[in-house]
Symmetry: C2
Subunit: 630 residues, 2 copies
């Protein structure tokens, strides 16, 4: 019998000391449960998303020393774990020391080497270099190693032989992407199977959560196990890790599939937990079925987990949320109120003359419902002082001795209000409260920069900036109906027209609001950002001309005709937002706070962009001319 | 005879239409000069640093259509150029359509295929994935292609045969990194030479400028030509390109080396120009020697070029610089004054009660010297209003019905001042002036976040944030002595103690200033960021213990003993700044403006980082305990 413990541990990125401590505890617990083998995730010791920390020699040495501790702790138990492996005698292609993303197996105080590997560990074969992943920047792949050694990659892949209780098990060791081989033209699992079908496969991963990803993982790994005809054990970490601009939650979701690909064991998402089982009786366990959940439930779990751990990571205990009475700030406040005790959450309403009694009242009701701290700081006196100071400032033209004065337009005054609220009031209050203030921008606003830099585009974290507006509404309803089970977000906040309330033209009581038709623009913008091959005005206009637009972008039918009576209206709207998306919005995103990722394409490190301005192809221009009858 | 034109063209990233137009003009000019062959840089059509624009199908189609235009324009002349090449039938490892970074040769309206290439173009063999480069994210390498085809990469490399005036020339076509093969274990040049020494090599590049890089290019390519025993022509673009957070200038610096590696022809840095010569008489030309220049001259050229083109790229014509009387803002103002007409530059002094008459006078003198626009807007009334509003705000504790008030400390008031200046005054004035305002932070401040977010850390561009403080001083002297040839930056600004003047404790008239000892900290911080293997407190403390620190980090001898009488003082300083560098400074950099790169390691896309907090290794802790006698 082989008793196995899958350690769904929390990995702290950049903290080999703490991760090693955690692993030693899991090993001790596994021993208590009479496990013969305990399996940890990929990069369990260093963490995975570390930027260029991999270029610090001392950090690499520390990771090696931690490996030694884990190896020493493997007396009487086998331990599989991920860590960086360094070959100090060789170089990467960038000229720096050679590093591998490696899968170690330790037993009785020494490493168990895979038979045909040139190193006493498994080298990751497939290195992802898309989305938020950067593996090829730092790690040397098995293929490159094979080329260097003058052999085929196939020669270097082989099972690990693990002797336990008198039986020797052949184990196929895989690192994360090694199991996602469809687009690589090389499958480590197939190569190993062609040599000898292992008794089981182990895939150690460090795989961030995004919406729907766990379903995909199950489809892929269930299929792989069935193909191989061998059980497959999937071990992933929990916790959060970030690439600076983008913060990812890791949901763990460990899994054990039998040789037919049936899921027999599953780790609860985001929990620090261990799954212990006997390999031989795995097929006898009841199949696990994971119930479908509404999207909002998944989003709430990911966001609340992410916010809680992000606050912990940066050591922030208190949070200020500017609340306008509108939907985004209300959802942000209700989210933070689930993560923080009420005395650590301060809501602030900052009215100007343009804010209606309606929204001021809604902000107050939200605070009452949440029972946290609340204050009101009007911005009118300061905004008036600013406009007056700027208009009264004498500009001396030193080149000709003349002087002049500037005029502050109503558009400029809108931005002055937004900056006054965030950079003056919220930043000051947050410091006085001993915490930070939140950015409540959603993904639609973030896409087109419908926000003010150093105003509502600022904050320590954008928890909602990977949610389209409809997802913000869904989350609001879910918070009321399920999380709180009462109306914490006032229904009027959900029903009212979304508005920035920065001028007379944005009067919510007259139903005047944002220039965005969210039921359409949410989907248009999604096609710019999240579509597999990103859409541009050329694609959009071709679909429009073919009457296929609503179907292609996924919005409700009839909206295009409703919002845009003529091609001219349609094109003006398209170009307006494409210009923003590729223009000023890029500049704003460069200076935006970190974003908590939930979609399969969040802004930041997973959506790399340059400040190059909008582009229209020749095909676009020709089609536009045709549609406009030019 | 083969007459060759090296086109040192300006490439506009993301503008295939404009680049194609430019290339057609260069081709027409080359024809007028009776050239037989005109050579353009790598990725001449699309540009190189484009983020994830490569995922837009319509953009790829547009680039292909532009290729066709160039091919059609090659009647009677051969044209070599870089572009993206798409194989619509195949996939990259990320599952998206197959893309190559490709070298095309066109002649008489059709492509000239390299003999052994599976495509009618050269596929880039070595794809850099370090520093600011991201090639492997988007492009498929020749090695991967070879593996897919089941052959060695060697089999796919061969010369291009170009028939001109009755002679057939064998040309070795290389793309940028293909010539920098030292760390790859595979040299495209050697492979080609082993088959048949070409008549000449062509390296088309898109190679950003950084300090000292052109010297390195010359060393490398002169060596390569001599090794190969064949002339080597190097063609690079000018212009600027950015990765969002980091803006790079491209200096061109085209070069023709003869078969002995002697430089015979060289393009002036940053100029749009063409070098025309006859291949056969290249060795008869006078060798080119490039005179050594002071670092400040190079920095000034790169920054003024970068600033000018960045303004052009984002369509900004007017700039506001907040001037304190200190060195950084004075250098920024003097730099912008060389790029903009005086009426488009507005300097603003924003005194509080802590600003001395000395620095206020220096700010005014700077403006007088530059003869631009100038104004003064005091921040005292607004700062007082803010402190009063924040302290008077009644915080309602809705969980227990009590109320309270916050207290604004003097440290909080410092940040309020900084935000007031930038987010309130400068942002408002810039909008009214129809432009943007600058961030004047230097690299030392940026490293440790000695700045206020939404305060002096804000702006549309950080032109000085890749310069250590000593480089800012050098640039100040260079501006006065050489660029302006008169004292535009007042000598007192250069001589005065650097100070933020945000409190009584920072009184310049008493010689009180920043908490940084720049002559030491510049070099300490550089070791954290720019050192080949990045230094951490462990390295620093080991060097300190070995009395090797000043030598290792490159600062003047004696400074460590002068600033830090005891190990305790030394360690306290080290930890203070390491905590900042790995902590709050990361958060500030995430929201910082784009940085104009000049060093070999600028913050941003070339210094990837995660918000994970500071780390101290076990070796560090042990050595610290030993030094402190614990």
């Amino acid at each position: 019998m082989l008793r196995i413990a899958l350690a769904q541990m929390r990995v702290m990125p950049g903290r080999p000391d703490r991760n090693t401590e955690t692993m030693l505890k899991y090993i001790a617990n596994a021993r208590k449960q009479n496990a013969d083998l305990v399996i940890f995730p990929e990069m369990a010791i260093p963490g995975y998303l570390l930027g260029d920390t991999w270029e610090q020699t001392s950090f690499l040495e520390e990771c090696e020393a931690c490996s030694d501790e884990i190896i020493a702790a493997s007396k009487g138990i086998a331990v599989m774990f991920g860590n960086v492996a360094v070959d100090w005698a060789k170089k990467n292609n960038d000229g720096r020391v050679r590093k591998y993303n490696a899968f170690f197996t330790a037993q009785d105080g020494r490493l168990v080497a895979p038979e045909e590997s040139p190193y006493p560990f498994v080298v990751k074969t497939l290195l992802p270099n898309y989305r938020e992943f950067d593996d090829t920047r730092h790690f040397f792949s098995l293929q490159k190693l094979a080329r260097e050694l003058g052999v085929a990659a196939e020669n270097l892949l082989s099972p690990i032989r693990l002797a336990v209780n008198g039986t020797t098990y052949a184990v196929g060791g895989l690192l994360c992407e090694d199991g996602w081989s469809d687009d690589y033209g090389l499958s480590p699992m197939k190569i190993i199977c062609e040599k000898e079908r292992p008794d089981f496969f182990v895939n150690i991963s460090s795989s961030p959560y995004t919406l729907g990803k766990n379903n995909k993982r199950r489809r892929v790994f269930s299929g792989r196990a069935a193909e191989a005809g061998a059980p497959l054990l999937y071990v992933n970490n929990v916790g959060i890790q970030n690439n600076g601009k983008t913060v990812y939650t890791f949901d763990g979701a460990n899994a054990a599939y039998d040789a037919h690909g049936v899921l027999r064991l599953s780790g609860a998402p985001y929990e620090e937990t261990t799954q212990v089982f006997d390999l031989e009786t795995l097929p006898e366990r009841k199949p696990v079925t994971i119930p479908d959940e509404p999207e909002a439930a998944q989003i709430f779990r990911a966001l609340s987990y992410g916010v809680r751990l992000f606050l912990e990571t940066i050591g922030m205990k208190r949070v200020v949320v500017g609340v306008s009475g509108g939907i985004d700030s209300a959802v942000a406040a209700a989210l933070y109120a689930r993560v923080l005790p009420p005395e650590n959450l301060l809501l602030v309403n900052m009215p100007s003359i343009y804010n209606s009694e309606t929204t001021k009242g809604l902000a107050r009701r939200l605070a009452d419902n949440l029972g946290c701290r609340y204050t009101t700081v009007p911005i009118q006196p300061s905004v008036e002082l600013t406009v007056e100071q700027l208009e009264n400032a004498t500009i001396e033209n030193l080149f000709d001795g003349t002087t002049e004065h500037f005029n502050i337009s109503s558009f400029m005054a809108e931005n002055i209000q937004a900056r006054d609220r965030f950079s003056r009031i919220l930043a000051g209050l947050a410091a006085a409260f001993g915490g930070g203030f939140t950015c409540n921008a959603n993904k639609a606003e973030t896409t087109v920069g419908y926000s003010t830099l150093y105003g509502d585009q600022s904050g320590f974290l954008s928890a909602l900036a990977d949610l389209w507006k409809y997802q913000v509404y869904d989350l609001a309803r879910y918070l009321n109906e399920t999380v709180y089970n009462r109306e914490v977000i006032p229904q009027e906040t959900i029903d009212i027209v979304p508005s920035a309330e920065l001028s007379d033209a944005q009067d919510v009581d007259k139903g005047q609001g944002d220039p965005l038709h969210y039921p359409y623009h949410d989907y248009l913008f999604r096609s710019f950002v999240e579509r597999w091959q990103k859409a541009t005005p050329q694609d959009i206009l071709e679909w429009y001309a073919d009457d296929a637009l609503e179907k292609e972008i996924g919005c409700a039918p009839g909206l295009v005709a409703k919002y845009f009576p003529t091609p001219k209206d349609f094109i003006a709207d398209l170009e307006r937002w494409w210009n923003q998306f590729s223009g000023l919005a890029v500049a704003k995103r460069i200076q935006a706070p970190p974003i908590l990722a939930v979609s399969r394409r969040a802004f930041g490190f997973d959506h790399r962009e340059s400040q190059n301005g909008p582009y229209y192809t020749k095909k676009y221009k020709a089609l536009k001319a045709k549609l406009l009858g030019e």
